[in-house]
């Protein structure tokens, strides 16, 4: 029995020390990665400084006509610091962006909409009564506030609407649902807005965090880093890069 136990013990010890070595290597590699990210952050800060202060002429003349609708995704925890969001919107307003869709998963930005409306202009919620006139006469930017419930839940509600309309009558022929049917149903519920052309993601990861799927088909999604470390120059760079993108739409 000892003859079997000893090699087993040796194997266990080797595999334990092997695991420690792997763990160490993993930490080293992640440390190297973190250092690289840190260096990249410094480089981006320097790049933003150059762009913001006009040293890079490429971004002087932005073709904003291509950015008809700009989407901003913000991590909900970061969205709670409204001053950061206001500063971002100040920058976008200075660049000349007119229509902005603000998304955060929990709807934190929706709750602060009065602050944004007061400062920047009129706003629309997905289900707001369209008969109401804009609250302020001075229109600087148009806003749309979106959260998680305006995504999958909206499609479920639209499905229910279609179900009631076309399936309630047992005898009638059931239509084949095309894009038009779903778009009309979403419109009836007050959900349809144009698809954002460009989505700037402010958060720890490049992830759209549940932005309405129906509206992201060909949207360019750029990760801008955490909101607290936002940089004006990098917004210009992202918009400039977007204006140079050529989409084939599958063809």
């Amino acid at each position: 029995m000892d003859l079997l136990v000893q090699p087993q013990n040796v194997f266990l010890n080797v595999s334990k020390s092997g695991n420690i070595v792997l763990l160490l290597l993993w930490h080293i590699l992640h440390l190297v990665l973190s250092i690289l990210y840190f260096l990249r952050e410094i480089f981006r800060a320097f790049e933003s400084y150059l762009i913001t202060n006009g040293y890079v002429k490429t971004y002087d003349d932005l073709n904003l006509d291509r950015v008809k609708y700009l989407g901003i995704v913000v991590d909900s925890d970061e969205a709670r610091k409204t001053s950061n969001v206001i500063e971002l919107l100040d920058w976008l307003s200075a660049i000349g962006v007119k229509k902005v869709c603000l998304y955060d998963r929990e709807g934190v930005l929706k709750k602060s909409k009065d602050v944004f409306i007061e400062r920047f202009g009129s706003a629309e919620l997905p289900k707001e009564d369209s008969k109401n006139a804009p609250l302020l006469s001075k229109k600087q930017m148009e806003f749309e506030f979106v959260s998680l419930i305006d995504g999958k839940e909206a499609v479920a509600k639209a499905a229910n609407l279609l179900f009631k309309k076309y399936y309630a009558d047992e005898d009638s022929e059931k239509p084949f649902f095309t894009e038009t049917y779903l778009t009309e149903a979403l419109k009836t519920l007050g959900y349809v807005e144009p698809d954002p052309d460009l989505l700037l993601i402010y958060g720890p990861a490049r992830c759209h965090l549940g932005f309405p799927a129906w509206r992201l088909r060909y949207t360019e999604m750029v990760h801008m880093g955490p909101l607290k470390r936002k940089k004006y120059g990098l917004i210009l760079k992202a918009i400039h890069r977007f204006t140079r993108v050529k989409q084939n739409y599958g063809a």
Binding site: K152, L162, K164, Y167, L182, C207, L209, W214, E220
Partner: protein
């Protein structure tokens, strides 16, 4: 003539009495084979070391790929039409192999979008024929079917494919249905828009059939009804979506399923993607795993409150 105990190492041309052979070319061929074998073994060893390191943290359960850049690769390397797609297929198989070795359970590839039907009919025809050819090869590939235990699924509106391509796809799914080491989902004739529409229609049909003759009234449809009828409802949501060529859009791919998914866009073209890019993507995922996992749990909580 060599004795019975000696191996005849003469050049085949010499053995056959052919003139004009060169010693050096045969030796060179032997050297290349040996070098290839050694480099394969070394590559395998290095990969195993890397897998060992990666396994310390979470490895993605599901990785999806948007295979962008085959045509540009063809142009860049002055290849004939269709060669880029063939190179792309080899790359697909390499990625499946690396993901299998890494312990990834689900891999999905965006092979053909419904939007791609808008391309030149000749190009579409070439792609359909290539797809059929590769599906047949896949079914007969012992390594894929038996050794790796790959279950193949074709996801999308398969009715839009040619009859022969559709039948080939169904044969591949049948042939690999008992495997479960790794699930390979190939999205053909797929867009998220079409998937969502199809799911809404199926949910309505199903609910109508269930409610027929029922005195309880019409049951309301909810998100889980729609998700159950999605083409991708048979696999978990992806953890990472990798799109090559540096493009930052999803082009109507897995829009519904990517709420908590890391989007990674390396600038290399699809046929150029290699092991090192996959490892980089997994490192990025591991770096953000805690955050993405938290978001995923949070979405479930928020759904519960609605």
């Amino acid at each position: 003539m060599p004795s019975n105990f000696e191996i005849d190492i003469r050049d085949p041309h010499e053995r056959l009495g052919l003139k004009g052979y060169k010693d050096s070319s045969w030796n060179f061929a032997m050297d290349v084979k040996q070098v290839t074998k050694v480099s394969e073994l070394l590559g395998g060893f290095i990969r195993n070391c890397v897998y060992g390191i990666l396994s310390i943290s979470a490895v993605p359960n599901h990785i999806a790929f948007i295979m962008d850049g085959n045509r540009r690769y063809s142009k860049k390397n002055n290849l004939i039409d269709g060669a880029g797609y063939r190179a792309g297929y080899s790359t697909l198989m390499s990625m499946v192999r690396y993901c299998y070795e890494m312990g990834v359970k689900h891999v999905t590839f965006y092979a053909f979008s419904i939007d791609n039907f808008k391309r030149d009919p000749e190009e579409v025809q070439t792609l359909m024929e290539l797809m059929e050819e590769k599906i047949e090869r896949l079914i007969n590939d012992e390594i894929i079917v038996s050794q790796y235990g790959v279950k193949v699924r074709f996801i999308g509106n398969l009715k839009l494919l040619s009859k022969s391509a559709r039948l080939a796809a169904e044969r591949a799914m049948d042939a690999t249905s008992m495997n479960n080491n790794i699930v390979l989902s190939i999205c053909v004739a797929y867009t998220s828009t079409d998937e969502i529409l199809h799911a809404v229609q199926e949910s309505c049909d199903k609910t109508w059939h269930e409610n027929r003759g029922s005195d309880d009234g019409l049951r309301r449809l909810d998100v889980s009804d729609i998700e159950r009828h999605m083409y991708m409802g048979v696999v978990p949501d992806p953890d990472v979506i990798i799109r090559t060529s540096g493009e930052t859009r999803l082009s109507n791919f897995l829009l519904w399923q990517s709420s908590n998914c890391l989007l990674y866009s390396p600038s290399i073209l699809w046929p150029e993607i290699g092991f090192q890019h996959l490892v980089q993507a997994v490192f990025e995922f591991q770096k953000r795993f805690y955050y993405l996992n938290k978001q995923s749990k949070h979405e479930v909580q928020l759904k519960g409150k609605i």
